[in-house]
């Protein structure tokens, strides 16, 4: 898995020129990458309702097929698009579920399973996250985009810099701002009266 980077870029270029085998292979690698890297993990799904790999793959195909003509510049560019796709898939699912029989909780996710330290007390509602990203986008589209790439595609600062044509230092500061903003928007802390007027 370590050095699939170069391979993915090559496959994407081949795909751009119409090589469908390259597409399939790229999607395969993409899927693995996204699963591995996405900070959003699905949890606590009811049996029989879980987001199954097949469903995800089918969706990825349907969505990415529409991107057939896109000229993939490189792997980072592709992952950036794919992370947006991942977000839509997950949010669509959550929304569909919410409008389904069960009212109330939508899909719960946990953000970051890595550290043992101070997890958010409750899993974050994916729709809340999505809404927060939307609000952030209205304020600052670039930061929202960075957050999406980070949360749903696990792109590194360098990769995001490549996509946005920014230095990774700038990306990092943007990312920190987005992260703080979202954390504030999502964390169930008591609101201060002098904020969020």
């Amino acid at each position: 898995m370590a050095d699939s980077r170069h391979e993915v870029t090559q496959l994407l270029r081949a795909w751009t020129t119409g090589d469908l085998d390259a597409r399939d292979r790229a999607l395969e690698l993409l899927y693995r990458e996204l699963r591995r890297r996405a900070a959003v993990h699905l949890r606590r799904e009811r049996p029989g309702h879980s987001l199954q790999p097949t469903a995800l793959v089918h969706e990825a195909y349907l969505r990415l097929d529409g991107q057939r003509q896109a000229a993939w510049q490189n792997r980072a560019h592709f992952l950036a698009v794919a992370s947006q796709m991942m977000r839509r898939i997950l949010v669509d699912r959550a929304r569909a579920r919410q409008t389904g029989k069960r009212a109330g909780r939508s899909q719960e996710v946990t953000l970051d399973a890595a550290g043992d330290v101070g997890q958010l007390h409750d899993p974050i509602d994916l729709l809340d996250l999505d809404a927060a990203l939307e609000r952030l986008a209205a304020l600052d589209a670039r930061k929202s985009r960075i957050a999406v790439m980070r949360f749903f595609g696990g792109l590194s600062l360098e990769e995001m810099g490549e996509v946005l044509e920014l230095s990774s230092r700038t990306v990092e500061r943007d990312w920190q701002a987005a992260r703080a903003w979202l954390f504030k928007a999502l964390a169930p802390l008591p609101r201060r009266p002098d904020h969020d007027s």
Partner: protein
Amino acid sequence: MTPDEWRAIDRVWHAVLERPEPERPAALIELCAGNEALRHDVESLLGHLARASAAGFGTAPGGAARASLVGRRIGPYAVQALLGAGGMGEVYQAHDATLGRDVAIKILSDVWPASPERRARFDREALLLASLNHPNIGAIYGVHESDGIRALVLELVDGETLAERIARHATTSLPPRGLPLADVIMIARQIAEAIEAAHERGIIHRDLKPANIKLKGAWGSGVRQGFGQARRSAEGAEAGACTVKVLDFGLARAVSAVGSSNAADVATAAADATIDGALLGTAAYMSPEQARGRPVDTRTDIWAFGCVVYEMLTGAKAFAGDGFAEVLANVIKGEPDWTALPADTPPALRLCLRRCLQKDARQRFHHIADVRLAFEDAFEATPGAGDSSTRRGHSEMRVVYVGWAATALVAIAAIAIAVVVGRNSAGSHSNAQQSAAPPVLYSPRIGGGGTATATTIQEAMDQVAPGGTVTLLPGTYAEMLTIKKGLTLQATGERSGAVILAPSGSPESVVEIETTEPVTLRGLTVHVPGANGIRGSGAVNLTVERSVVVAVNPPNGRSHLIRVENDTTPAGPRARAVIRGSVLDGTIAKLPPQVARPQSFAVRLVGDVDGVIERSTIRRTGGFCILVHTRTDLTGVTNVDILENDIDECHPVDRVGAILVGAPSVLTLSREQTITATGTVNIVGNTFRNSSEDCLTSAIAFDTFSGRIERNRFVNFVQPCAKPTPRNLPGAIFLGLRGNFRLPAVAPTVRFNDIVGNAHAGLHLAPNFAVRVDASCNFWGSARGPSGAGPGDGDILLVGQDAIAPVFLPFATAPIARSNNGGC
């Protein structure tokens, strides 16, 4: 907060973060220059950043590769070697100092449940799995946690995996073949016993595959004992005193009626992390219900068991494909190659396998015990298996008894299978009645948002957003379609199984385009039993890619595989038709001259059309392979590129040509009418053959339009039996019309073609042909000209009376169509 306010915050934010940590408070005050609200906002954000960092919010898990644990000590376990890395995490060999035994430890990397509550659940789950104590199951000793590392402690099982064994056999035998029958039966029975023990405790494996099965003990010892001394054992059965160990029951999910969320939950989370690996390594063994994302039960293991046995017998996967999507498509719709089973596979075993691999779980064996018993029955029925067995003994009576029961069962299976097979072999039309028609996937929203399924294609097309995609799983769909909005209709896993549109009866069209929005058909196989396969009238925008359109018992009148006609009066918007990378087969054999033959065309493009027909294979039409003509009022603009196609066995009823370009039927054309239609038709890079040696007058009959006829190859096309028609005279390429029709003074250039082995003229110009054609640089089969069948006929070119002679020199002295070696 307004965007302006935010921009101010953002500016200060960037400036502050550029400073080293200790300087930041001072910098903040300085940068805000007395704007307290601003300072407060940025400060607040910094505070949230600190909390977000502490909470690990937005940190990608497992971002850095974990350092190897070899040489480290984790609790009582001294890690000795890395055994492998799977979806769940790395697996190490370790020595348990407390109990003095070697174990395998599987590090649980990224999937660790965060809350203590969930951890407790996982522990309970692991405990349940650890309670599985069976000689054919790799034991789970428990869960260990220390130094921030959590690991499953497992029984260390030596030996090769079944996957390795199968691969070894396949590579050392030519042609590749499966394991000896005796081995297959012995291994299968032990796997079945393992599954049985797990199922009895409510545990489903869910990921059974050869890579999860270890073969331990005296394999390859050459000891030939026991059951299943089949005929093939002479080839070298390796089954000796050996044990099969099924591993990774740790990924199983408890079948628990009550624990809808609790117990099953954690296993889901764990299994979730294995999706990457599972998708790729397991797709081939996934049951159709698993592949469809539906709930699974014990029958899913029975399916996987069938896949494993099939692979042992044949050396090949029951469901294969390039890439996981294809494999899954195959699992859902494909059928294993049953003919690949070795000839000496006992019939009872074949039936047993088929019963394991029923797509519909209800048709499958319900209990693994039934499978095991059927296997024992198969073994009993194996000729030559009657000699000694160490295993039978006291259980013999039981085997015989249940053997009878299994026989009855197999007989029932045989009936069920006969019905299914009968449907399949009765041809595509009857397939429609199968209840298990694959679902149709479509994107319900603009921009491809979401996925939904429908039961018919038409339903999916009604539901799909304009411009959306309807995806078809391999299978036969007995529908005729009317497409009323722009969309893409495509096959998934094109290479794994055909998506066949095969309507019953003889509908006017199989696919009717009734929209001017772009419609793309991709990867489909269209059976055409009636007048039209794919038809668009008016200003349609149709693309047919990588599809197969094939006539099925074509009617005796006119028919078309693909037909786009934009011939409305007055002329409206233009139509567009692209046929690319497809196979069009009219299935009409050559018939004796006097026998009426169906007049079927592969492609007909009419009127105000921009068309492309490229890289396609066209065969066996009763009419022209390609027909391009003007509007019926002889006006309009027609532009068509015919590029790099492979064209053979066109049997036009009036023998005019493989490709006809120009006016509609000459029989209805009066000499007073003037053709005013314009346009460009390029015919470039095609290969024309006439391998059925039909008496075609021409490969290309080209009345009017400008364009280029270049780099084509005409190989032995015009036969000695070719005759004049009311429309043209024999010649591989015929330009103009034979009668005195009024044609525009335009003509294509004819260059760089190989026109080889024609019995009549290579190029023939109609009488009164009034344009000076550039026909230089062609290769005519020899320096002198085409091989001839009589004086005058075999000439390079024939120029009709009062026609203008073409530019003929220089000509190529060697084939030139595919290279520039002709020296021109």
